[in-house]
Protein backbone atom coordinates (compact mmCIF):
# COMPACT_ATOMS: atom_id res chain seq x y z
CA UNK A 1 0.00 0.00 0.00
CA UNK A 2 1.50 3.27 -1.08
CA UNK A 3 0.90 6.53 0.70
CA UNK A 4 -1.25 8.06 -2.03
CA UNK A 5 -3.54 11.02 -2.02
CA UNK A 6 -6.19 10.37 0.69
CA UNK A 7 -9.00 11.39 -1.67
CA UNK A 8 -7.83 8.95 -4.31
CA UNK A 9 -7.50 6.32 -1.60
CA UNK A 10 -11.06 7.06 -0.54
CA UNK A 11 -12.34 6.74 -4.11
CA UNK A 12 -10.44 3.49 -4.59
CA UNK A 13 -12.10 2.13 -1.44
CA UNK A 14 -15.52 2.88 -2.91
CA UNK A 15 -14.54 1.33 -6.21
CA UNK A 16 -13.51 -1.86 -4.37
CA UNK A 17 -16.85 -1.96 -2.57
CA UNK A 18 -18.77 -1.46 -5.82
CA UNK A 19 -16.69 -4.14 -7.54
CA UNK A 20 -17.31 -6.56 -4.71
CA UNK A 21 -21.06 -5.78 -4.80
CA UNK A 22 -21.10 -6.52 -8.53
CA UNK A 23 -19.30 -9.81 -8.06
CA UNK A 24 -21.58 -10.81 -5.21
CA UNK A 25 -24.64 -9.98 -7.29
CA UNK A 26 -23.33 -12.00 -10.19
CA UNK A 27 -22.60 -14.95 -7.92
CA UNK A 28 -26.04 -14.72 -6.32
CA UNK A 29 -27.55 -14.94 -9.78
CA UNK A 30 -25.75 -18.17 -10.62
CA UNK A 31 -27.61 -21.36 -9.63
CA UNK A 32 -24.41 -22.98 -8.40
CA UNK A 33 -24.47 -20.65 -5.39
CA UNK A 34 -27.56 -22.37 -3.98
CA UNK A 35 -26.16 -25.39 -2.23
CA UNK A 36 -26.51 -27.01 1.17
CA UNK A 37 -23.29 -25.44 2.45
CA UNK A 38 -24.21 -21.94 1.44
CA UNK A 39 -27.68 -22.40 2.88
CA UNK A 40 -26.18 -23.40 6.23
CA UNK A 41 -24.01 -20.29 6.24
CA UNK A 42 -27.00 -18.13 5.37
CA UNK A 43 -29.17 -19.72 8.05
CA UNK A 44 -26.48 -19.17 10.65
CA UNK A 45 -26.07 -15.58 9.60
CA UNK A 46 -29.81 -14.95 9.80
CA UNK A 47 -29.90 -16.60 13.18
CA UNK A 48 -27.14 -14.39 14.56
CA UNK A 49 -28.25 -11.19 12.88
CA UNK A 50 -32.00 -11.38 13.40
CA UNK A 51 -33.15 -14.11 15.74
CA UNK A 52 -30.65 -13.56 18.54
CA UNK A 53 -31.39 -9.85 18.82
CA UNK A 54 -35.09 -10.07 18.14
CA UNK A 55 -36.56 -9.51 21.67
CA UNK A 56 -34.16 -6.73 22.59
CA UNK A 57 -34.41 -5.01 19.27
CA UNK A 58 -38.20 -5.18 19.09
CA UNK A 59 -38.43 -3.77 22.63
CA UNK A 60 -36.11 -0.91 21.71
CA UNK A 61 -37.97 -0.31 18.47
CA UNK A 62 -41.35 -0.29 20.21
CA UNK A 63 -40.12 2.20 22.80
CA UNK A 64 -38.58 4.43 20.18
CA UNK A 65 -41.73 4.28 18.02
CA UNK A 66 -43.95 4.95 21.01
CA UNK A 67 -42.05 8.11 21.93
CA UNK A 68 -41.98 9.44 18.38
CA UNK A 69 -45.67 8.65 17.81
CA UNK A 70 -46.73 10.27 21.07
CA UNK A 71 -44.76 13.42 20.30
CA UNK A 72 -46.10 13.62 16.76
CA UNK A 73 -49.73 12.96 17.66
CA UNK A 74 -49.73 15.35 20.62
CA UNK A 75 -47.95 18.09 18.71
CA UNK A 76 -50.36 17.72 15.79
CA UNK A 77 -53.33 17.86 18.16
CA UNK A 78 -51.85 20.92 19.82
CA UNK A 79 -51.67 22.67 16.48
CA UNK A 80 -55.16 21.51 15.56
CA UNK A 81 -53.81 19.26 12.82
CA UNK A 82 -54.86 15.94 14.34
CA UNK A 83 -56.18 14.54 11.03
CA UNK A 84 -52.64 14.77 9.66
CA UNK A 85 -50.91 13.19 12.66
CA UNK A 86 -51.41 9.64 11.51
CA UNK A 87 -50.18 10.37 8.01
CA UNK A 88 -47.13 12.10 9.44
CA UNK A 89 -46.35 9.13 11.68
CA UNK A 90 -46.79 6.66 8.83
CA UNK A 91 -44.67 8.59 6.40
CA UNK A 92 -41.99 9.72 8.81
CA UNK A 93 -41.64 6.86 11.23
CA UNK A 94 -42.80 3.72 9.46
CA UNK A 95 -41.50 4.45 5.99
CA UNK A 96 -38.31 6.33 6.81
CA UNK A 97 -37.07 6.29 10.40
CA UNK A 98 -37.56 2.64 11.33
CA UNK A 99 -35.76 1.20 8.27
CA UNK A 100 -32.87 3.60 8.85
CA UNK A 101 -32.63 2.86 12.58
CA UNK A 102 -32.82 -0.86 11.91
CA UNK A 103 -30.06 -0.60 9.32
CA UNK A 104 -27.88 1.35 11.77
CA UNK A 105 -28.53 -1.21 14.49
CA UNK A 106 -27.67 -4.15 12.25
CA UNK A 107 -24.61 -2.29 10.98
CA UNK A 108 -23.40 -1.73 14.54
CA UNK A 109 -24.02 -5.27 15.65
CA UNK A 110 -23.38 -7.44 12.59
CA UNK A 111 -21.59 -5.18 10.13
CA UNK A 112 -18.76 -4.52 12.53
CA UNK A 113 -18.57 -8.21 13.40
CA UNK A 114 -18.51 -9.27 9.75
CA UNK A 115 -15.79 -6.74 8.86
CA UNK A 116 -13.66 -7.87 11.78
CA UNK A 117 -14.12 -11.54 10.99
CA UNK A 118 -13.22 -11.15 7.32
CA UNK A 119 -10.31 -8.85 8.22
CA UNK A 120 -8.95 -11.44 10.64
CA UNK A 121 -9.41 -14.24 8.11
CA UNK A 122 -7.48 -12.15 5.63
CA UNK A 123 -4.75 -11.21 8.17
CA UNK A 124 -4.24 -14.75 9.39
CA UNK A 125 -4.10 -16.08 5.86
CA UNK A 126 -7.14 -18.34 6.30
CA UNK A 127 -8.83 -16.94 3.21
CA UNK A 128 -5.76 -17.64 1.09
CA UNK A 129 -5.59 -21.18 2.41
CA UNK A 130 -9.25 -21.74 1.50
CA UNK A 131 -8.67 -20.36 -1.98
CA UNK A 132 -5.57 -22.52 -2.35
CA UNK A 133 -7.70 -25.53 -1.39
CA UNK A 134 -9.98 -24.69 -4.32
CA UNK A 135 -12.86 -23.19 -2.34
CA UNK A 136 -14.66 -20.27 -3.91
CA UNK A 137 -14.72 -17.96 -0.91
CA UNK A 138 -17.05 -15.52 -2.61
CA UNK A 139 -19.66 -18.16 -3.23
CA UNK A 140 -19.11 -20.12 -0.03
CA UNK A 141 -18.65 -17.36 2.52
CA UNK A 142 -19.51 -13.92 1.34
CA UNK A 143 -22.63 -14.10 -0.83
CA UNK A 144 -24.61 -16.18 1.69
CA UNK A 145 -23.76 -13.62 4.35
CA UNK A 146 -24.79 -10.70 2.19
CA UNK A 147 -28.08 -12.36 1.29
CA UNK A 148 -28.71 -13.42 4.86
CA UNK A 149 -28.02 -9.93 6.20
CA UNK A 150 -30.42 -8.46 3.67
CA UNK A 151 -33.14 -10.92 4.65
CA UNK A 152 -32.51 -10.27 8.34
CA UNK A 153 -32.72 -6.55 7.80
CA UNK A 154 -36.01 -6.93 5.97
CA UNK A 155 -37.40 -9.17 8.68
CA UNK A 156 -36.42 -6.86 11.53
CA UNK A 157 -37.75 -3.83 9.67
CA UNK A 158 -41.09 -5.46 8.86
CA UNK A 159 -41.61 -6.59 12.46
CA UNK A 160 -40.66 -3.17 13.86
CA UNK A 161 -42.91 -1.41 11.41
CA UNK A 162 -45.82 -3.70 12.26
CA UNK A 163 -45.38 -2.80 15.91
CA UNK A 164 -45.14 0.89 15.05
CA UNK A 165 -48.33 0.77 12.95
CA UNK A 166 -50.19 -0.93 15.80
CA UNK A 167 -48.84 1.62 18.29
CA UNK A 168 -49.87 4.46 16.01
CA UNK A 169 -53.42 3.11 15.93
CA UNK A 170 -53.56 2.91 19.72
CA UNK A 171 -52.00 6.33 20.16
CA UNK A 172 -54.57 7.84 17.82
CA UNK A 173 -57.78 5.97 18.65
CA UNK A 174 -57.02 4.01 21.84
CA UNK A 175 -58.49 0.51 22.00
CA UNK A 176 -61.64 1.61 20.13
CA UNK A 177 -62.31 -0.34 16.94
CA UNK A 178 -64.19 2.61 15.45
CA UNK A 179 -61.05 4.31 14.25
CA UNK A 180 -60.46 1.49 11.78
CA UNK A 181 -62.19 3.12 8.81
CA UNK A 182 -60.29 6.35 9.31
CA UNK A 183 -57.06 4.43 9.84
CA UNK A 184 -57.63 2.44 6.66
CA UNK A 185 -58.12 5.66 4.72
CA UNK A 186 -54.75 6.99 5.91
CA UNK A 187 -53.09 3.66 5.10
CA UNK A 188 -54.55 3.90 1.59
CA UNK A 189 -53.20 7.41 1.30
CA UNK A 190 -49.67 6.57 2.46
CA UNK A 191 -49.03 3.02 1.26
CA UNK A 192 -49.52 3.35 -2.44
CA UNK A 193 -47.86 0.86 -4.76
CA UNK A 194 -44.74 2.95 -5.31
CA UNK A 195 -44.34 3.54 -1.58
CA UNK A 196 -44.64 -0.18 -0.78
CA UNK A 197 -42.24 -1.13 -3.57
CA UNK A 198 -39.82 1.56 -2.53
CA UNK A 199 -40.02 0.41 1.06
CA UNK A 200 -39.16 -3.20 0.21
CA UNK A 201 -36.38 -2.11 -2.14
CA UNK A 202 -34.90 0.20 0.46
CA UNK A 203 -34.93 -2.52 3.12
CA UNK A 204 -33.14 -4.93 0.81
CA UNK A 205 -30.58 -2.33 -0.29
CA UNK A 206 -29.91 -1.39 3.34
CA UNK A 207 -29.45 -5.08 4.21
CA UNK A 208 -27.09 -5.67 1.32
CA UNK A 209 -25.05 -2.55 2.13
CA UNK A 210 -24.70 -3.59 5.77
CA UNK A 211 -23.01 -6.81 4.57
CA UNK A 212 -21.26 -5.72 1.38
CA UNK A 213 -19.38 -2.67 2.63
CA UNK A 214 -17.88 -4.31 5.77
CA UNK A 215 -16.87 -7.42 3.79
CA UNK A 216 -15.28 -5.31 1.08
CA UNK A 217 -13.44 -3.36 3.81
CA UNK A 218 -12.35 -6.55 5.60
CA UNK A 219 -10.92 -7.98 2.39
CA UNK A 220 -8.65 -4.95 2.24
CA UNK A 221 -6.80 -5.98 5.43
CA UNK A 222 -3.11 -6.85 5.14
CA UNK A 223 -1.17 -9.68 6.72
CA UNK A 224 -0.57 -7.51 9.77
CA UNK A 225 -3.12 -7.90 12.54
CA UNK A 226 -2.92 -4.15 13.27
CA UNK A 227 -4.46 -3.39 9.92
CA UNK A 228 -7.75 -5.03 11.01
CA UNK A 229 -9.03 -2.18 13.25
CA UNK A 230 -8.18 0.31 10.51
CA UNK A 231 -10.18 -1.52 7.86
CA UNK A 232 -13.11 -2.10 10.26
CA UNK A 233 -13.21 1.62 11.09
CA UNK A 234 -13.01 2.51 7.42
CA UNK A 235 -15.76 0.06 6.55
CA UNK A 236 -18.10 1.36 9.27
CA UNK A 237 -17.67 4.99 8.24
CA UNK A 238 -18.29 4.10 4.60
CA UNK A 239 -21.34 2.10 5.63
CA UNK A 240 -22.73 5.06 7.55
CA UNK A 241 -22.26 7.35 4.56
CA UNK A 242 -23.76 4.81 2.20
CA UNK A 243 -26.84 4.34 4.37
CA UNK A 244 -27.28 8.10 4.62
CA UNK A 245 -26.88 8.51 0.86
CA UNK A 246 -29.47 5.80 0.12
CA UNK A 247 -31.93 7.39 2.56
CA UNK A 248 -31.49 10.85 1.04
CA UNK A 249 -31.81 9.41 -2.46
CA UNK A 250 -35.00 7.56 -1.50
CA UNK A 251 -36.49 10.73 -0.01
CA UNK A 252 -35.50 12.77 -3.03
CA UNK A 253 -37.09 10.27 -5.41
CA UNK A 254 -40.25 10.05 -3.36
CA UNK A 255 -40.89 13.71 -2.63
CA UNK A 256 -39.67 15.50 -5.73
Amino acid sequence: MTAANPFVEWLVGWARAVRFAGLALATAMSPSAYRAETRDVALKQIYFTAWQVLPGFLLFSALFSFVVIEISVNAARGFGLAPYALELVMRGLVLELIPLVTALFVALRSGAAIATEIGLMKATGELERMQAAGTDTLEREFVPRVAATAVSMFSLTVLSCAIAVALAYFAMYGASPHGFADFTRVVALVFERAALGGFVLKCVVFGALVAVIPIAAGLHATARLKSVPVVVLDGMVRLFFALGAVEVLALAVKYT
Binding site: K44, Y47, A50, W51, V158, R185, A188
Partner: protein, 325 residues
Protein backbone atom coordinates in the same frame (compact mmCIF):
# COMPACT_ATOMS: atom_id res chain seq x y z
CA UNK B 1 -10.81 -17.91 22.20
CA UNK B 2 -13.97 -17.69 24.28
CA UNK B 3 -15.59 -15.32 21.92
CA UNK B 4 -15.42 -17.82 19.12
CA UNK B 5 -17.58 -20.37 20.84
CA UNK B 6 -20.96 -18.68 20.32
CA UNK B 7 -20.07 -17.81 16.79
CA UNK B 8 -19.15 -21.29 15.75
CA UNK B 9 -21.67 -23.07 17.91
CA UNK B 10 -24.58 -24.21 15.82
CA UNK B 11 -27.77 -23.88 17.86
CA UNK B 12 -30.37 -26.58 17.97
CA UNK B 13 -33.42 -26.27 15.72
CA UNK B 14 -31.62 -23.51 13.85
CA UNK B 15 -33.49 -24.19 10.67
CA UNK B 16 -36.82 -24.19 12.47
CA UNK B 17 -36.18 -20.91 14.26
CA UNK B 18 -35.01 -19.14 11.16
CA UNK B 19 -37.91 -20.57 9.17
CA UNK B 20 -40.31 -19.40 11.88
CA UNK B 21 -38.86 -15.89 11.80
CA UNK B 22 -39.05 -15.72 8.02
CA UNK B 23 -42.57 -17.13 8.01
CA UNK B 24 -43.77 -14.53 10.53
CA UNK B 25 -42.10 -11.79 8.53
CA UNK B 26 -43.65 -13.02 5.32
CA UNK B 27 -47.13 -13.33 6.84
CA UNK B 28 -46.95 -9.82 8.25
CA UNK B 29 -45.58 -8.37 5.03
CA UNK B 30 -48.13 -10.10 2.82
CA UNK B 31 -50.90 -9.32 5.26
CA UNK B 32 -49.99 -5.66 5.32
CA UNK B 33 -49.76 -5.46 1.55
CA UNK B 34 -53.19 -7.08 1.31
CA UNK B 35 -54.51 -4.61 3.89
CA UNK B 36 -53.03 -1.70 1.95
CA UNK B 37 -54.61 -2.99 -1.26
CA UNK B 38 -57.92 -3.39 0.54
CA UNK B 39 -57.55 0.12 1.92
CA UNK B 40 -56.98 1.42 -1.58
CA UNK B 41 -60.18 -0.22 -2.69
CA UNK B 42 -58.62 -2.78 -4.99
CA UNK B 43 -61.08 -5.48 -3.90
CA UNK B 44 -64.03 -3.13 -4.01
CA UNK B 45 -66.40 -2.42 -6.87
CA UNK B 46 -66.45 1.29 -7.58
CA UNK B 47 -68.40 3.64 -9.75
CA UNK B 48 -66.75 6.44 -11.62
CA UNK B 49 -67.71 10.08 -11.28
CA UNK B 50 -66.12 12.90 -13.25
CA UNK B 51 -66.18 16.44 -11.95
CA UNK B 52 -65.49 19.28 -14.36
CA UNK B 53 -63.83 22.39 -12.94
CA UNK B 54 -62.59 25.62 -14.49
CA UNK B 55 -59.51 25.33 -12.33
CA UNK B 56 -58.28 22.17 -10.64
CA UNK B 57 -55.84 24.04 -8.42
CA UNK B 58 -55.74 22.43 -4.99
CA UNK B 59 -57.10 19.11 -6.17
CA UNK B 60 -54.75 16.16 -5.95
CA UNK B 61 -54.77 12.44 -6.58
CA UNK B 62 -55.90 10.36 -3.55
CA UNK B 63 -57.84 13.33 -2.24
CA UNK B 64 -61.11 12.49 -0.51
CA UNK B 65 -64.60 13.26 -1.67
CA UNK B 66 -66.49 13.91 1.53
CA UNK B 67 -70.17 13.78 2.33
CA UNK B 68 -71.23 15.18 5.71
CA UNK B 69 -67.56 15.08 6.72
CA UNK B 70 -67.15 11.39 5.83
CA UNK B 71 -64.86 10.34 3.00
CA UNK B 72 -66.94 8.43 0.46
CA UNK B 73 -64.60 8.44 -2.50
CA UNK B 74 -61.10 9.30 -3.69
CA UNK B 75 -59.70 11.26 -6.60
CA UNK B 76 -58.18 8.78 -9.01
CA UNK B 77 -56.96 11.01 -11.76
CA UNK B 78 -56.92 14.66 -12.81
CA UNK B 79 -56.71 15.50 -16.47
CA UNK B 80 -57.05 18.57 -18.65
CA UNK B 81 -59.94 18.04 -21.05
CA UNK B 82 -60.05 19.09 -24.70
CA UNK B 83 -62.29 21.99 -23.78
CA UNK B 84 -59.59 23.42 -21.47
CA UNK B 85 -61.42 22.41 -18.33
CA UNK B 86 -60.02 20.20 -15.63
CA UNK B 87 -61.60 16.78 -15.27
CA UNK B 88 -61.33 15.25 -11.83
CA UNK B 89 -62.06 11.53 -11.93
CA UNK B 90 -63.31 10.11 -8.67
CA UNK B 91 -63.81 6.50 -7.61
CA UNK B 92 -66.78 5.99 -5.32
CA UNK B 93 -67.26 2.52 -3.79
CA UNK B 94 -70.67 1.11 -4.68
CA UNK B 95 -71.69 0.91 -1.03
CA UNK B 96 -71.16 4.68 -0.69
CA UNK B 97 -72.75 5.51 -4.05
CA UNK B 98 -76.16 5.86 -2.38
CA UNK B 99 -75.16 9.30 -1.13
CA UNK B 100 -74.79 10.56 -4.68
CA UNK B 101 -78.07 11.60 -6.24
CA UNK B 102 -78.91 13.34 -9.48
CA UNK B 103 -79.51 16.56 -7.55
CA UNK B 104 -76.18 16.44 -5.67
CA UNK B 105 -73.97 19.52 -5.75
CA UNK B 106 -70.16 19.22 -5.73
CA UNK B 107 -67.75 21.84 -4.40
CA UNK B 108 -63.99 22.19 -4.43
CA UNK B 109 -63.02 24.35 -1.46
CA UNK B 110 -59.64 25.69 -0.61
CA UNK B 111 -58.98 26.72 2.97
CA UNK B 112 -56.26 28.90 4.43
CA UNK B 113 -54.72 26.02 6.33
CA UNK B 114 -54.68 22.41 5.25
CA UNK B 115 -55.50 20.85 1.95
CA UNK B 116 -58.41 21.43 -0.35
CA UNK B 117 -61.63 19.52 0.05
CA UNK B 118 -64.03 18.16 -2.48
CA UNK B 119 -67.47 17.94 -0.94
CA UNK B 120 -70.80 16.68 -2.09
CA UNK B 121 -74.11 18.04 -0.84
CA UNK B 122 -77.25 16.04 -1.44
CA UNK B 123 -80.45 17.84 -0.58
CA UNK B 124 -82.92 15.09 -1.29
CA UNK B 125 -81.78 11.51 -0.75
CA UNK B 126 -84.90 10.26 -2.52
CA UNK B 127 -83.86 11.65 -5.88
CA UNK B 128 -82.75 9.12 -8.51
CA UNK B 129 -79.18 7.88 -7.91
CA UNK B 130 -76.27 9.25 -9.89
CA UNK B 131 -75.40 6.86 -12.74
CA UNK B 132 -71.95 5.34 -13.19
CA UNK B 133 -69.63 7.57 -15.19
CA UNK B 134 -71.67 10.71 -14.54
CA UNK B 135 -70.10 14.06 -15.38
CA UNK B 136 -70.94 16.93 -13.09
CA UNK B 137 -69.68 20.51 -12.70
CA UNK B 138 -67.89 21.40 -9.50
CA UNK B 139 -68.25 24.76 -7.79
CA UNK B 140 -65.10 26.39 -6.52
CA UNK B 141 -64.63 28.30 -3.30
CA UNK B 142 -61.19 29.65 -2.67
CA UNK B 143 -60.33 31.47 0.51
CA UNK B 144 -56.95 32.56 -0.77
CA UNK B 145 -58.48 34.16 -3.81
CA UNK B 146 -60.59 36.34 -1.54
CA UNK B 147 -57.64 37.48 0.53
CA UNK B 148 -56.50 40.35 -1.78
CA UNK B 149 -60.01 41.79 -1.78
CA UNK B 150 -60.23 41.34 1.96
CA UNK B 151 -56.92 43.11 2.44
CA UNK B 152 -57.97 46.00 0.18
CA UNK B 153 -61.23 46.45 2.07
CA UNK B 154 -59.63 46.25 5.46
CA UNK B 155 -56.99 48.75 4.39
CA UNK B 156 -59.69 51.22 3.37
CA UNK B 157 -61.38 50.70 6.73
CA UNK B 158 -58.12 51.21 8.55
CA UNK B 159 -57.45 54.42 6.62
CA UNK B 160 -60.88 55.72 7.51
CA UNK B 161 -60.25 54.81 11.11
CA UNK B 162 -56.93 56.54 11.04
CA UNK B 163 -58.50 59.66 9.55
CA UNK B 164 -61.12 59.62 12.27
CA UNK B 165 -58.69 59.16 15.11
CA UNK B 166 -55.70 61.10 13.76
CA UNK B 167 -54.62 64.59 14.82
CA UNK B 168 -57.35 67.05 13.84
CA UNK B 169 -59.62 64.10 13.09
CA UNK B 170 -63.34 64.12 13.63
CA UNK B 171 -63.15 61.85 16.63
CA UNK B 172 -60.59 64.00 18.32
CA UNK B 173 -62.66 67.16 17.63
CA UNK B 174 -65.74 65.47 19.02
CA UNK B 175 -63.87 64.41 22.12
CA UNK B 176 -62.59 67.97 22.59
CA UNK B 177 -66.14 69.31 22.26
CA UNK B 178 -67.34 66.71 24.71
CA UNK B 179 -64.67 67.79 27.14
CA UNK B 180 -65.74 71.46 26.84
CA UNK B 181 -69.33 70.40 27.35
CA UNK B 182 -68.53 68.43 30.46
CA UNK B 183 -66.44 71.32 31.77
CA UNK B 184 -69.37 73.71 31.28
CA UNK B 185 -71.73 71.28 32.89
CA UNK B 186 -69.58 71.24 35.97
CA UNK B 187 -69.30 75.06 35.82
CA UNK B 188 -71.37 77.80 37.48
CA UNK B 189 -74.44 77.49 35.24
CA UNK B 190 -74.31 73.61 35.04
CA UNK B 191 -76.44 72.06 32.29
CA UNK B 192 -77.68 75.50 31.16
CA UNK B 193 -74.16 76.60 30.56
CA UNK B 194 -73.56 73.45 28.48
CA UNK B 195 -76.77 73.94 26.49
CA UNK B 196 -76.29 77.65 25.70
CA UNK B 197 -72.56 77.61 25.27
CA UNK B 198 -71.81 81.21 26.38
CA UNK B 199 -72.14 82.10 30.07
CA UNK B 200 -73.88 85.36 29.17
CA UNK B 201 -76.75 83.51 27.49
CA UNK B 202 -77.13 81.24 30.47
CA UNK B 203 -77.24 84.29 32.71
CA UNK B 204 -79.99 85.74 30.51
CA UNK B 205 -82.04 82.57 30.93
CA UNK B 206 -81.60 82.74 34.68
CA UNK B 207 -82.71 86.37 34.63
CA UNK B 208 -85.73 85.46 32.48
CA UNK B 209 -86.77 82.85 34.99
CA UNK B 210 -86.46 85.35 37.80
CA UNK B 211 -88.59 87.83 35.89
CA UNK B 212 -91.15 85.21 35.18
CA UNK B 213 -91.31 84.51 38.89
CA UNK B 214 -91.89 88.20 39.60
CA UNK B 215 -94.56 88.31 36.90
CA UNK B 216 -96.34 85.37 38.47
CA UNK B 217 -96.33 87.09 41.87
CA UNK B 218 -97.83 90.26 40.33
CA UNK B 219 -100.45 88.20 38.51
CA UNK B 220 -101.36 86.63 41.82
CA UNK B 221 -101.96 90.04 43.31
CA UNK B 222 -104.02 91.12 40.27
CA UNK B 223 -106.18 88.06 40.55
CA UNK B 224 -106.83 88.80 44.24
CA UNK B 225 -108.01 92.29 43.31
CA UNK B 226 -110.17 90.89 40.56
CA UNK B 227 -111.84 88.67 43.15
CA UNK B 228 -112.74 91.74 45.26
CA UNK B 229 -113.99 93.50 42.16
CA UNK B 230 -116.33 90.67 41.28
CA UNK B 231 -117.65 90.53 44.84
CA UNK B 232 -118.42 94.25 44.73
CA UNK B 233 -120.21 93.96 41.39
CA UNK B 234 -122.21 91.11 42.78
CA UNK B 235 -123.31 93.15 45.73
CA UNK B 236 -124.24 96.14 43.60
CA UNK B 237 -126.22 94.25 41.10
CA UNK B 238 -127.86 91.52 43.15
CA UNK B 239 -127.74 92.83 46.75
CA UNK B 240 -130.36 94.92 48.74
CA UNK B 241 -131.18 98.18 46.94
CA UNK B 242 -129.18 96.86 44.08
CA UNK B 243 -129.84 97.54 40.43
CA UNK B 244 -132.04 94.49 40.12
CA UNK B 245 -134.33 95.46 42.93
CA UNK B 246 -134.73 99.00 41.63
CA UNK B 247 -135.55 97.61 38.24
CA UNK B 248 -138.21 95.39 39.78
CA UNK B 249 -139.75 98.45 41.45
CA UNK B 250 -139.67 100.39 38.20
CA UNK B 251 -141.37 97.51 36.39
CA UNK B 252 -144.10 97.47 39.07
CA UNK B 253 -144.54 101.22 38.59
CA UNK B 254 -144.72 100.78 34.84
CA UNK B 255 -147.36 98.11 35.31
CA UNK B 256 -149.40 100.55 37.47
CA UNK B 257 -148.97 103.29 34.85
CA UNK B 258 -150.08 100.96 32.12
CA UNK B 259 -153.18 100.19 34.24
CA UNK B 260 -153.80 103.92 34.46
CA UNK B 261 -153.36 104.22 30.71
CA UNK B 262 -155.78 101.41 30.12
CA UNK B 263 -158.32 103.21 32.36
CA UNK B 264 -157.75 106.47 30.46
CA UNK B 265 -158.18 104.73 27.12
CA UNK B 266 -161.41 103.17 28.32
CA UNK B 267 -162.56 106.63 29.28
CA UNK B 268 -161.54 107.79 25.82
CA UNK B 269 -163.53 104.98 24.31
CA UNK B 270 -166.54 106.00 26.31
CA UNK B 271 -165.93 109.58 25.38
CA UNK B 272 -165.64 108.75 21.73
CA UNK B 273 -168.78 106.68 21.91
CA UNK B 274 -170.44 109.54 23.63
CA UNK B 275 -169.10 111.90 21.01
CA UNK B 276 -170.37 109.62 18.29
CA UNK B 277 -173.74 109.36 20.07
CA UNK B 278 -174.05 113.04 20.71
CA UNK B 279 -172.99 113.84 17.13
CA UNK B 280 -174.50 117.17 16.51
CA UNK B 281 -173.79 118.53 19.92
CA UNK B 282 -170.14 118.62 19.19
CA UNK B 283 -169.56 122.11 19.99
CA UNK B 284 -170.73 121.61 23.58
CA UNK B 285 -168.42 118.66 23.89
CA UNK B 286 -165.32 120.53 22.69
CA UNK B 287 -164.49 121.79 26.16
CA UNK B 288 -164.60 118.18 27.49
CA UNK B 289 -162.29 117.11 24.68
CA UNK B 290 -159.76 119.74 25.54
CA UNK B 291 -159.70 118.49 29.12
CA UNK B 292 -159.36 114.91 28.05
CA UNK B 293 -156.58 115.79 25.75
CA UNK B 294 -154.61 117.37 28.48
CA UNK B 295 -155.13 114.22 30.61
CA UNK B 296 -153.85 111.98 27.79
CA UNK B 297 -150.91 114.22 27.23
CA UNK B 298 -150.06 114.01 30.87
CA UNK B 299 -150.35 110.24 30.89
CA UNK B 300 -148.17 109.97 27.82
CA UNK B 301 -145.61 112.24 29.38
CA UNK B 302 -145.56 110.17 32.57
CA UNK B 303 -145.16 107.08 30.43
CA UNK B 304 -142.24 108.52 28.51
CA UNK B 305 -140.47 109.55 31.65
CA UNK B 306 -141.03 106.11 33.16
CA UNK B 307 -139.61 104.39 30.14
CA UNK B 308 -136.66 106.71 30.23
CA UNK B 309 -136.07 105.84 33.84
CA UNK B 310 -136.35 102.16 33.14
CA UNK B 311 -133.94 102.54 30.29
CA UNK B 312 -131.55 104.35 32.47
CA UNK B 313 -131.71 101.85 35.30
CA UNK B 314 -131.74 98.66 33.17
CA UNK B 315 -128.16 97.31 33.70
CA UNK B 316 -127.83 94.98 30.71
CA UNK B 317 -128.78 97.39 28.01
CA UNK B 318 -125.91 97.99 25.73
CA UNK B 319 -125.97 101.70 25.59
CA UNK B 320 -126.30 101.97 29.31
CA UNK B 321 -123.19 103.10 30.97
CA UNK B 322 -122.42 101.45 34.29
CA UNK B 323 -119.59 102.99 36.09
CA UNK B 324 -117.75 100.61 38.35
CA UNK B 325 -115.91 101.75 41.35
Amino acid sequence: MDIESPVTQVPKHLQFRVALLLAITLVIAVGFVAYALYARGVFEAVQRLTLVADNAEGASVRMDLTFSGFPIGVVRRITLGDDGKARIEIDVPLKEAKWLRSSSVFTLERGLVGGSKIRVFTGNLKDPPLPDGAVRPVLRGDTTEEIPQLVATSRAILENLERLTGTGGALQGTLANLQTLSERMSGRHGMLGAVFGADADAAKVVASIERANALLASLERASARLDTLIANADRRVLGDAGVLEQTQQAVAQAQALLGDLRGSLKKLDAVLLEAQGVGANAKAATTDLGKLRSEIDESVRKMTSLIDEVNRKWPFRRETEITLP
